[in-house]
Symmetry: C2
């Protein structure tokens, strides 16, 4: 018999996808390698030094006069102190460091508009910054761009419980929004990996996670945006309506634009009713074919209540500290599948999950798993199982250097690629661990070596880009291009699409002052 | 006790939102009035005659030489016979008639590209046409535009059951796609009102329905598009990946662009697992406040299995033929709510719906309703209940002239507007009937009069536009602007947004040959 689980969506909160490790920064084509978030920003080399081949754009340099003008425009909310600026100049992974002379904190759309108008008239380059948790270096200056933080734009505008919509300013954190939505029995449909991430940054980065397949992506869920264009013009595309077909849906251009087309100042989101009960099961199996068969049966049996289906291989799980595995009762098995349900009736959900578990056993698809009263009695069971998944990268990076890739691929081609990498990645790669969000074909591959080598990185970049592209996949599934993967797009995108991207950029930002050196490849 | 329902998603097939009626065509600001689909196209006045103030754009006229050149480019697949052309020149509602000299039927992307390249070089205006079911006159020529039909682009490219994706050419009908998806246990996430609609037209029109809240909108579900731009360039934005963040998501520009930016030739869609069981309940209640409370409780109790929640008022339901109402056991009640569930376990779904029904009774929110063994024994019960909803407009239009509006509004303001219209719509309005898709705040208002009057239409347009806009709603929820509502956008949209729309149009279609006289207001 199952004990009732009333844990309500606290699951992702403790999930941390990335952790600390040794390594060196600064590869132009790096998808990314993991660095040490706890490292002092001041110890990070300046990006302009690491990337000597990169040329500063034809922008003005901010003069003392500019700084006092900007200060005026944001009513004193400006930071110019070198030390205090460090955390804004340096990225979350501590691999990049810009040299911006200031960060401004506008509190209203009008102030954002005034700042951009001024910067535009002076041809000063700018970089929009939310919580600065970008993993691709999108949110930090490369040279001396003026940083525009949305931190002070933190008002909730409206929550319509009946309509299932929430509108707010861009600087509201996911943590706040989740809390506000929860109070109205709504679910804020963005995975809460990193609670401080701000909705403006989240929308600009088109953030996604394991539950995207269930709750939909941001292109579907964003109902309205207010955006300040590079010249300071305010584009009001706000709406709380779930259906509006009066004209082109222009706000879509800004979802995933990574700060290179304008500054998002307001967001309106569709929020579904909040599920009341979360259940989870971890099962062990012998082959990747079985993993896929488990996913199929889980979809068939759980249907609309399934909220995540995560796969991990032995190398991934066994990298987690043994004491944790023992404590949580996780043995060494070839493959693991973590299944999460989120529904409105605990009895029904448990019955479905239990039925699935027995079915998988009857069909001899699983060796065993964690489901049932023994573990369900523990109220933090759900969180602990997710913890394993969330600890993989941190664990791997604590014992070596990690090259991490986040790709999308058809399921049948995923594990063959992992196997191929085990054969062809080169002798310095000691471990190839993989795990993924099965519901949307999103695979994480972490290749461990003793130390970092630029040659290895280049080889891996090429090997993975070639194989993923040939399989019709995407080389950046979730994280975007930003600065680190800016040269990647051109390898994978149709040239016509690249040209159109440049046309859109030129139309909205003719001077190119918005977040330069990002998204677009260097040669363009 | 409930009998088991195994009806699988046949529900929307017979649903027909609009029907025949008397009336006159041709109001520039008309949202739309209902006309007679069974009317002979040849009896419909030419659009250029009905809209005398409209000026033909500065385009070339197709010469016999052009026609033979086009014929060559599409390997003979061209229609130039005046009679056979009629159904392509005339819209579904029989209100508009263009004077195109030809419709071409390209069979490959290359042919579409060759046709557009040619038309572009000759400055010939074109109109893309799918199944020509647009209700806003988007798919027919206004003057003598060349019609490019996607009918022959009808190949399925790939269905990935594991990934939950389907890719196909733009001319595939919803009926075909639904069938193909069903075979792989997938659900094609577009409401099947009008089975012949083609996926290219559906995406171009950003079609939506009562189940959009459950299955997501097209901006979220379209994963990839191939589009031929007005100059013949092929933009390949196809992808079967649910996650791809390498660069801007440009394909979004074409979702809802109503044929004015390019011709969609291929589409890739995310498809969820197909629900196995459909249940439905119809309940009767005393006030609109109760309607909303029923919706709230339904969301709370049914959660993820709810697939539609439709409201109808007495004027709407009582317009349906009495013999049907009697046959289906539907009494005269102030308000009706139709609740549909789609799930993976019949027992669980029925239990939830039954629990809700009893809860509504206990709380004295409903007077009665249709749920339980008596009606559930009838296998077509589901379809019949939907039929009532679907027959309202047809019924109303068979006994008078109907002015029909399709708006989005916050729930609390919906019925007050209907009441206001009853007071202020004028003495020639004999009935104001309303019904809507509660889950996304989409309200249909049908105002009946004895005969059509342009003055009344103008007055209603203004009354509704003002009230809906003031409430933060959208005056065109589902149907787009096309030709009929082209002057509407400017009334409701931010001028900056209108300018940006024009900039996007100019960027992609500098000569303006793509579907002219549509989407944009006349003065622009
Ligand atoms: C531990 C960890 C785990 C993560 N896991 C995931 C994951 O699973 N999936 C995922 O998708 N991401 C993940 N991320 C990346 C990151 O959290 C997301 O990209 C998030 O959306 C960034 O939000 P932010 O407020 O920090 O934005 P920032 O990092 O400040 O900015 C992100 C980008 O958007 C731009 N930007 C910021 N605000 C605005 C604005 N208002 N208007 C316009 N542009 C703006 C910036 O210039 C930058 O290009 C993870 C990050 C960390 C540290
Ligand atoms: C009875 C009835 C009920 C309806 N109910 C609804 C409803 O509830 N919700 C709703 O949203 N719509 C509804 N519609 C409207 C219509 O069915 C939809 O808009 C549908 O998407 C149109 O598909 P189609 O293939 O007929 O496209 P068409 O009518 O041929 O074209 C629609 C628009 O898209 C353009 N277009 C067509 N194909 C392409 C292409 N390949 N590339 C670029 N542009 C293209 C056309 O130029 C036109 O502007 C209804 C229509 C009818 C007749």
């Amino acid at each position: 018999m199952f004990a009732r689980l009333t844990v309500t969506m606290r699951v992702p909160l403790t999930r941390c996808l990335l952790g600390s490790l040794r390594g060196q920064p600064g590869q132009a084509r790096a998808l990314f390698t993991l660095q040490d978030h706890s490292k002092k920003p001041s110890s990070v080399p300046l990006t302009k030094e690491s990337f000597k081949q990169l040329r500063r754009g034809d922008f003005a340099e901010a003069t003392p006069d500019d700084l006092s003008k900007l200060k005026e425009l944001v009513k004193g909310r400006i930071e110019t102190d070198k030390d205090d600026l460090l955390k804004h100049n340096c990225d979350w992974m501590r691999t990049l460091r810009g040299s911006s002379p200031c960060v401004v904190f506008p509190k209203t759309t009008e102030e954002v508009s005034a700042v951009l108008k001024y910067c535009s008239s002076r041809r000063l380059a700018v970089v929009p910054q939310g919580a600065n948790t970008s993993l691709v270096g999108g949110s930090v200056p490369v040279f001396d761009e003026v940083i525009i933080s949305t931190k002070e734009l933190d008002d909730i505008i409206d929550i319509d419980a009946d309509g299932g919509t929430l509108s707010c300013e861009a600087g509201c954190s996911l943590k706040t929004l989740e809390k506000k939505a929860r109070k109205k029995h709504l679910f804020f449909p963005v995975d809460l990996y990193i609670r401080e991430a701000q909705i403006g940054g989240v929308v600009a980065a088109d953030m996604a996670g394991p539950r995207t397949a269930r709750y939909g992506n941001l292109h579907g869920n964003v109902l309205g945006l207010e955006v300040v264009l590079p010249d300071g013009t305010v584009l009001n595309s706000m709406s709380n309506m779930r259906k509006d077909n009066t004209g082109f849906d222009l706000k879509q251009m800004f979802v995933g634009s990574e700060g290179s087309l304008g500054i998002i100042t307001k967001v309106s989101m569709a929020c579904p009713p909040r599920p009341k009960f979360i259940n989870v099961a971890m099962v062990y199996t012998e082959s990747f074919d079985h993993v896929l068969e488990i996913m199929r049966l889980a979809k068939e049996q759980l249907g609309e209540i399934m909220s995540a289906c995560e796969f991990m291989d032995n190398d991934a799980v066994m990298s987690v500290k043994q004491k944790h595995l023992t404590m949580w009762g996780v043995p060494s098995k070839p493959y693991y599948v973590l299944i999460e349900t989120a529904g409105h009736c605990d009895m029904h959900d448990e019955e479905k999950l239990k039925f699935l578990f027995n079915l998988l056993k009857d069909k001899e698809l699983i060796m065993d798993g964690q489901i049932g009263p023994l573990n369900y009695d523990d109220p933090t069971f759900v969180e602990r199982l997710w913890n394993i998944n969330g600890r993989i990268l941190t664990a791997l990076s604590s014992t070596g250097n990690v090259y991490h890739y986040d790709v999308s691929m058809p399921h049948s081609k995923q594990y063959p690629l992992v196997q191929k990498l085990r054969q062809e990645a080169g002798s310095d790669i000691t471990k190839v661990a993989s795990f993924g969000h099965l519901l949307d074909g999103n695979l994480h591959i972490a290749l461990q070596s003793e130390s970092f080598s630029a040659d290895t990185l280049d080889r891996l970049d090429q090997l993975i880009t070639e194989n993923v592209t040939a399989a019709g996949g995407a080389v950046s599934a979730e994280l975007g291009c930003g600065f680190k993967s800016r040269n990647l797009g051109a390898h994978c995108k149709d040239p016509v699409e690249m040209k159109l991207m440049r046309d859109v950029k030129k139309m909205l930002d003719p001077q190119g002052i918005m977040n330069p050196y990002k998204v677009f490849p260097d040669s363009q």
